[in-house]
Amino acid sequence: MNLPVIIKFVIDLLAVLLLALGIKGLSKVKSARDANRLAAFAMSLSVVGLLSYYLGTSGIGIQSWIWIIIGSIIGSFFGAILAKKVPMTSMPETVALFNGCGGMSSLLVALGVAIFPISGGQENFDFFKSLINEVSISVSIFVGAITFTGSIVAMAKLQGWLSTPGWTQSKVRHFVNIVFAVASLIAFFDLINGNISSIWLLVVVSSLLGIGVTLPIGGADMPVVISLLNSYSGIAAAAAGFVVDSQLLIVAGAMVGAAGLILTQVMCKGMNRSLVSVLFGGSLSAQSTASSGSGEYTNITSCSVEECALTLEAANKVIIVPGYGLAVAQAQHTLREVTKKLEQNGIEVVYAIHPVAGRMPGHMNVLLAEADVPYEQLKEMDVVNPDFPATDVVLVLGANDVVNPQAKNDSSSPLYGMPVLDVQEARTVFVIKRGMSAGYSGIKNDLFDLPNTSMVFGDAKKVLNDLIGELKDLGVGEK
C-alpha cells in the first residue's frame, strides 16, 4: 500500500467511528447537538479523505474541479437556505424533501456509471464486467427512485398539494403496483442480460412504483412512511457504495438504513399500526367512514372563554394536551403566556405529550421548545396518564384522536387499541376547537359527549388570547 491509500484508509475509519458516535449521541438530549455537529464534521472529513486520495493518486482534472464546485455550491446553498427559512411546523415535509434528494443522488450515480462506462483511471472502472455491479446498479436505481418519488409524494401530501385520489383506495391500486413491481423485475433481468437501454425502463417503473405505493397512504400515517423512506435512502447509499466500491458508503448507508427501520417500528407502535397495514391498508379515514357511522354527538356542552378562565383560576393542577392544530394556528407562544400566568398563580402546569402528537414523534417537543416551554414540563404519555384523576383541569388544544376514549372502550372502533391520554379522568376537560369536525382519522370523538367535557369553540390562537385577557381581569399572575 502506498501513502495516499493508507491516509484514506485511516480517514475513512475515523469518519465511520465519528458517524457512529454521532448517531449514538443524537439519542441523548444532552449530547444531541454536539453529536449532530460531530456527524457533520465526520462527513466533511470523509470528503477531504476522498479528494486527497485522488490528488495523491490519479489527480483531479480541471474539468472535474469545475463541476465539483458548481454542484457543491448550488446544492449547499439551497439546502442551507431551506433549512434556515422553513417553519418548524413543516419539519416532516422538509425531512421528506431532503431525503428524496439523497435518493435521487444515489440514482444518478448508478445511472451515470451504467450508461457511460468510464475508461482510464488507476482502477479498472468498467462496471458492467460483473454481475455484482449490475445488481448493485439496479438496486441503487430501484431504491433511489422509490425514495425520490415516494418522498416527493409524501411532502406534497403533507403540504396539502396532493389529496388522496379515490381510486387509490380501491383494490385497483394493488394490481397497478404489482404491475410496476413485475415490470421492474423484467427490466432488472433484461439489464443483467446486457441490454443497457432497459435501464430507462427500470428508472421509469420504479419511480411509478414509489408514487403508487405512497399515494394511497393517509396523511396520519405519513410520518411512518417518511421514516421508512429515510431508511430506504440509506439502503440506496449503501448500494451506491457497492457501485463505486466504497466501504465508507456501505457502512454509513447500512447504519442509516438499520436505524431508520428501528425508528419506523417505534413510530408504528406509538400509533398502534402495523407496518403492513400502513403500507397496504390505505387511508385510515377511508376505512372508518364505513365502520363508525354512529357519528352523531348527543350531549355537547359549549362554554365561554370566561367560564374557562374562572375554572382555570380555581385549579391546582392543569394539564395541557397540545396537538398539531395548536402548531398550525401558531399558538404555542400564546399558550406559553397563558401557562406562565397560571404558574405565577401557583398552579402546577404540565404538558402531556402523546407519542405521535404533532406530525412525527418528538415534533411537538420541538414546537414547544421553540416557544420556551421548559423541557421538564413535557411529560410523556405513560408518565402523565396516572396523574389525570388528580388533575383539576385539562386543556385540549388541537388534539383529537389521541384523547379519544373509544380507543380504550369500543372494540369496534378503528382506533381501538391505540394508546391514548386518559383525559376524561380529570375533573374538567376543556376542548378548544374550531368546530365539530373530526380528527385526522375521521372518527367521532366520544370525549366531547362526556358530562365533564366542555367545548370552547374558536381558533386556538384567538381563544388563548381571549383567555389571557380574562385571566388578567381575574388578577391571575399579577403578583
Partner: protein, 97 residues
C-alpha cells in the same frame, strides 16, 4: 475490496445501526430522523468519485455534478435543520443553570 468483504461491511454496518438506536426518548425522534437523513447524503462521495473519474466526459460530468448537488442539498440542509431543532432543546437546559 472483494465482494465478500464488502458484504461483511454491509452486515456489520447494519448491526451497528440496529444497536445504536436502542433507547431513544421520543423527544429526539424527529431530530434523530433528520440527522440520520443528513448522513444518508454520504452518497455525495459516490458523486465525487464519479466526477473525478469522468474527466473529459462532459455528459457524465454533468450527471455527477447534479448528483453531487442533490446529495449536498440533503447533507447541508439536513445538518442545519437538525441543529436548528436541537438548539431549542439546549437553550432550555442552559437557561436553567
Amino acid at each position: 475490496m472483494s465482494f465478500i468483504s464488502l458484504l461483511w461491511v454491509l452486515l456489520l454496518g447494519s448491526l451497528l445501526g440496529l444497536e445504536l438506536i436502542g433507547k431513544v426518548p421520543p423527544t429526539l425522534h424527529t431530530p434523530l430522523m433528520s440527522g440520520a437523513n443528513a448522513i444518508s447524503g454520504i452518497t455525495m462521495l459516490a458523486a465525487l468519485t464519479l466526477i473525478v473519474k469522468a474527466e473529459g466526459n462532459v455528459p457524465l460530468l454533468i450527471i455527477g455534478s447534479v448528483s453531487l448537488g442533490f446529495a449536498l442539498f440533503n447533507v447541508v440542509g439536513g445538518f442545519f435543520v437538525t441543529d436548528r431543532m436541537l438548539a431549542m432543546f439546549s437553550r432550555k437546559t442552559s437557561n436553567k443553570k
